[in-house]
């Protein structure tokens, strides 16, 4: 079956442009149709994607600018498949949620939503470095318009300026880095200038070059995520954005940054990734601790979710820079999980704020659960998923990430475990302060409407479904996700070889581990992941094992970190 990714990619933007020339209601309908069509397309792609074959599928490859060797190359593989699905789900939810209230200059709103979705999809599907950079930069612009035009915050213009300039600072550095990558690869390998990722991966740049290029890319991605020292735009930006816009911004755009690390940085600059591994892990750790600490001290619900995202993205970064298959798989899974959790969380905050006299401060909320049991239940599910309750997909994701880090850097993994505990503190605090406790002064509790439910319940169902079948998102991507970090894994493994064998971790055969962590005859002591359960198992017996000890565990004990 052939799927034309170009249609998929441009559908939302095209319908948005069309809506510009139509009355508001028609534009609204078109926006919904665009988002729905994209979702349908994404589902078809996920179902149709050939897992056994793996690799890039549905590839569109045309020359865009021949003088610069830039191709319009799109493709889906295990790395981006579920992120694309997540994007379409969240955008549809955001579009539907936006329809709850009348919107000024409606056509423009839907236009920017459509362009935003197309740009995010483009960044996720681009298989050409220049195209990726273009989409990555472009996706910020509609959000700039959406915030500047439809925000109700008073300081929206300064806030959105800060957001745009902060994030584009990194992105523009990435532009130079991308051009340097292509030009220097051409100089190193001869031949034509090309930006196609698969061609660039053929040439490894010198280590010094890799290092500065890596730093430029890291700047772009870390700001976008955001990560701890460069998150300065986040509080103001989160406070200023309209909530449906914020839901997709927090749910999707930050994931593109995490995805960028796996798509571009680890395959193209493996040596630099190994060199800066510790630094990046420390940044991730700082994000987790800092984000968690602020999430349970601040009282603004948006910021609680914002700082919790900071912490969660710290986990994802941790997984990426474990530089091994488990970490990478966890990072991708956790990206999907977090997107699915944070978007309904923002919608629920919107509902709660409507019931608390418009305030978004948790001190003005409370006691909402008494007359709104369904809403409270939904909120509870979201909160529990956010704190990575065992049984949720978030738990599996964090487990994978910590497993990966555990193998790479023991000390960092141990500290990161604290982050898991902290997550439960801020998630439960948010839930309790909003839903229980003493009733706030101006609160007027009422159940959520069926219309709200139409948006929220499918998202909740997705969370629950993923909790039962986390391997759903893992299996299809397995091969490509491990491939993304394979080179870096080999390099880091070579560095760590002596240390690992000395500490009795057991030396792994890098090629085997890199190919796929599925049950196969491996050296004793090797830990692999059972793709059916998502749990670590002994490759020889198929028994679940404890990754820290390497000993089999009984099913009753497992799995608690």
């Amino acid at each position: 079956m052939t799927l034309h990714l170009s249609i998929f990619l441009w559908l939302p933007a095209a319908l948005g442009v069309l809506g510009l020339f139509l009355p508001g209601k028609a534009a609204r309908l078109l926006a919904a149709l665009g988002a729905l069509g994209a979702l349908g397309y994404a589902i078809t792609a996920v179902v149709d994607y050939d897992r056994d074959q793996g690799g890039l599928q549905y590839v569109t490859d045309r020359t865009w600018i021949s003088e610069l060797g830039i191709h319009y190359k799109l493709g889906l593989d295990g790395l981006n498949l579920f992120l694309v699905l997540l994007t379409t789900v969240l955008f549809l939810a955001a579009v539907l949620w936006s329809m709850r209230k009348p919107i000024e200059r409606e056509q423009h709103y839907w236009l920017h939503m459509g362009i935003g979705q197309s740009a995010v999809l483009g960044a996720l599907m681009a298989q050409d470095l220049a195209l990726f950079v273009a989409f990555f930069d472009l996706m910020l612009i509609p959000f700039f318009f959406l915030t500047a035009g439809w925000s109700t915050a008073e300081n929206r213009i300064p806030a959105v300026m800060k957001l745009v300039i902060y994030t584009l600072v990194g992105s523009l550095l990435m532009l130079v880095a991308a051009i340097a990558t292509a030009v220097l690869s051409k100089d190193a390998a001869g031949g034509e200038l090309t930006f196609v990722l698969s061609d660039l991966a053929q040439t490894q740049l010198g280590e010094g070059t890799q290092n500065w290029i890596f730093l430029c890319f890291a700047a772009a991605f870390l700001v976008k995520m955001p990560a701890f020292p460069v998150h300065g735009w986040m509080p103001d930006g989160y406070r200023a954005m309209p909530l449906p816009v914020l839901a997709v911004f927090s749910g999707v755009l930050s994931k593109v940054a995490a995805y960028g690390f796996l798509r571009i940085v680890t395959p193209l600059f493996p040596d630099a990734a190994v060199n800066f591994q510790t630094l990046m892990l420390l940044i991730a750790l700082a994000s987790i601790l800092y984000g968690s600490a602020l999430a349970f001290t601040t009282t603004d619900t948006r910021l609680i979710l914002g700082y919790s995202s900071l912490a969660q993205l710290g986990f994802i970064l941790l997984g990426v820079f474990a530089l091994n298959p488990q970490g990478a798989q966890g990072a991708i899974l956790q990206s999907v999980n977090h997107g699915l959790v944070v978007a309904p969380a923002f919608f629920l905050v919107a509902l709660a704020s409507e019931r608390a006299g418009g305030s978004e401060d948790i001190r003005d909320m409370g006691g909402l659960a008494f007359r709104a049991p369904v809403m409270a239940t939904v909120f509870l599910i979201v909160a529990l998923a956010n704190l990575a309750m065992p049984g949720s997909a978030n738990f599996v994701g964090e487990f994978f990430i910590l497993l990966g880090v555990f193998k790479a850097k023991l000390v960092i993994a141990c500290i990161a475990f604290a982050g898991v505990a902290l997550a439960s503190v801020y998630s439960l605090r948010l839930f309790i302060r909003v839903m229980h406790n003493r009733t706030g002064a101006d609160t007027d509790s009422r159940e959520m409407t069926v219309r709200d439910g139409l948006v929220l319940v499918p998202l909740i169902l997705a969370i629950v479904a993923l909790a039962f079948y986390p391997q759903l998102a893992l299996q299809k991507g397995e091969k490509d996700v491990t491939g993304a970090v394979a080179t870096a894994f080999e390099r880091s493994d070579a560095d760590e070889f002596a240390k690992q064998s000395a500490s009795g971790e057991g030396a792994e055969d890098p090629t085997q581990a890199a190919n796929a962590p599925r049950p196969q005859s491996g050296g004793s002591g090797q830990i692999v992941i059972d793709p059916n359960t998502g749990q670590p198992v002994d490759p020889n017996t198929g028994q679940p094992i404890d990754p820290s000890t390497g000993q089999p565990v009984s099913p009753a004990q497992e799995p608690t970190p």
């Binding site: 930069d137 300039i165 584009l168 550095l173 532009l175 130079v176 051009i179 340097a180």
Partner: protein, 514 residues
């Protein structure tokens, strides 16, 4: 050069290759005469129409001669891909400027015939400049473009700032010309040749690459050209002159002068002085850095759009200089490409400013843009696209242009200059986005005030001249057309840049670079 000798023996003119230049001069003479008629129709409609026709004819003749590669007038002028490309850019700018001045105040106050004749003469000077391959022609071209511009800046005679602008431009421009002339003299003194190929040959044969006389000449030439391109620290005149000059003239000056000056920059440095590139390239890179920083920082606090665009043009000159620094064919192509997209983006912005000047009476103040997103989509979108394009946002021509320039810089081992360019772009977002947020602001547009309130009549100018435009008067379709056309081009060339790449594809091939 054998061609030079051959031409000297049998001096004949290749009229066909020279025809675009002649069309402009002929047009200038005709409109000058026609402007003397009493009939209002002849002055106000026929004159601009005929000057537009002259520019159209010049464009047609340029395209007719597209594949011509020859030397003209004993090797004084060169017709090659570079000059043809720049001719098109200059002529397109001139056409747009004529459309913008069709119903403007400036030609009414100064007389239509003179105004358009000066505009055409200045454009003719630019054509000479981009083809010049001889120090004498270079200087003649530069003066032919500058002197009409000095006058044009002051054509809104009842506005003090316009006169100030003209005077300032005259004094500083003359100083620049003097410095340039001194530099050219030193280059001639060092090498004993005036034609570019002869200079290169002499410098090569006598090992003059590090000769202090030649380097002194190069330094002074850089300074002289830097005045024309508004490269920091020789840019101080730019904001005042841009702000004071009539807006159509500002638009013409901002784009066409820059294209012509960079054309000669490329030809002089990449042909005549290529032997000393190891010396001047780092120096020019430093100048580019200073220019990018100064331009972008200077634009930050501006509330006058013309001043903002003036500083922005300083910054853009810095970006363009990167293409000269690397002294490669890629660099030439990138520079010409960027000049083309710069034309498109700037013209869109200036056209919107002209339209709002006439409608609101707020002049070129940023407030004139407030809230036009609500009811004037044909002005709001071009302005938005122009600003995003100048900032280098993807899906606009500006992104591709910057991409090309950075590519050329990295390819020429000037990766750090690429980083300087993006650092400049980051700063520039601050002021470009301020314009965009104003355009799409939800606040009501500021109340229109009478134009006379902000622009006091100058003593000495007659009070009973033709009436000024009233705010909210009829909408000028030709201005909106320019805005919409170039706004659309900003977007289209950002998505489908292929044709423009084809156009500039050979720009560097005639210069003997690799």
């Amino acid at each position: 050069m054998t061609t030079v000798l051959a031409a000297a023996k049998a001096p004949d003119f290749d009229w066909a290759a020279l025809s675009p230049f002649l069309a402009l001069l002929g047009g200038a003479v005709v409109v000058l005469m026609l402007g003397l008629f009493r009939a209002r129709f002849a002055r106000e409609q026929l004159v601009p129409f005929l000057s537009l026709a002259a520019v159209g004819a010049a464009i047609g003749l340029t395209i007719w001669q597209w594949d011509t590669r020859t030397d003209l007038i004993s090797g004084a002028l060169r017709v090659d891909a570079l000059s043809q490309n720049l001719n098109l850019i200059i002529l397109a700018t001139t056409a747009a400027a004529i459309l913008l001045s069709w119903r403007a105040v400036a030609p009414r106050e100064s007389a239509h015939g003179e105004y358009h004749a000066l505009l055409l003469t200045s454009a003719a000077g630019m054509l000479v400049l981009v083809g010049a391959q001889n120090l004498v022609t270079l200087f003649i071209g530069l003066e032919l473009l500058s002197i009409p511009l000095y006058v044009l800046c002051a054509t809104e005679m009842r506005r003090a700032t316009a006169l100030e602008s003209g005077l300032k431009y005259l004094i500083i421009g003359s100083a620049g010309s003097a410095v340039l002339l001194y530099g050219l003299a030193l280059i001639y003194g060092a090498t004993g040749a005036t034609d570019f190929a002869g200079i290169a040959a002499a410098a090569d044969a006598e090992g003059l690459a590090d000769d202090s006389l030649l380097l002194g000449g190069i330094a002074l030439t850089v300074v002289g050209l830097a005045f024309k391109c508004s490269i920091a620290p020789f840019h101080q005149w730019t904001p005042d002159v841009y702000e004071g000059a009539p807006t159509p003239v500002t638009a013409f000056m901002a784009v066409a002068t820059k294209a012509a000056a960079f054309g000669v920059f490329l030809r002089l440095f990449d042909v005549a002085l290529i032997g000393s590139s190891a010396t001047w390239a780092p120096f020019l890179a430093l100048l580019a850095t200073v220019t990018i920083i100064v331009g972008n920082v200077g634009a930050l606090g501006q509330s006058s759009l013309k001043r903002l665009l003036a500083y922005s043009s300083v910054a853009q000159a810095g970006y363009l200089l990167a293409g000269v620094v690397v002294a490669s064919q890629l660099g030439v192509r990138a520079t010409v490409f960027y000049l083309a997209v710069y034309l498109v983006m700037n013209m869109a912005a200036f056209a919107v400013i002209v339209a709002r000047e006439r409608e609101t009476g707020l002049g070129d103040d940023l407030e004139a843009m407030r809230g036009i997103g609500r009811d004037r989509p044909l002005l709001a979108w071009p302005m938005t696209l122009a600003m995003l394009g100048l900032a280098g946002v993807p899906a606009t021509a500006g992104f591709i242009g910057k991409f090309y320039l950075i590519d050329a810089a990295v390819d020429g081992d000037y990766a750090w200059l690429g980083i300087v360019i993006v650092v400049g772009s980051m700063i520039s977002l601050r002021y470009y986005l301020r314009v965009v947020t104003t355009v799409w602001s939800n606040d009501a547009p500021a109340a229109a005030v009478a134009p006379s309130a902000g622009t006091p009549a100058l003593a000495g100018a007659s009070q009973d001249g033709p009436s000024e435009f009233r705010p909210g008067a009829e909408r000028h379709w030709e201005v909106i057309l320019v805005a919409a056309l170039f706004g659309a081009a900003t977007l289209v060339l950002g998505i489908v840049p292929g044709p423009l790449f084809d156009l500039v594809g050979e720009a560097g091939s005639g210069l003997g670079l690799f």
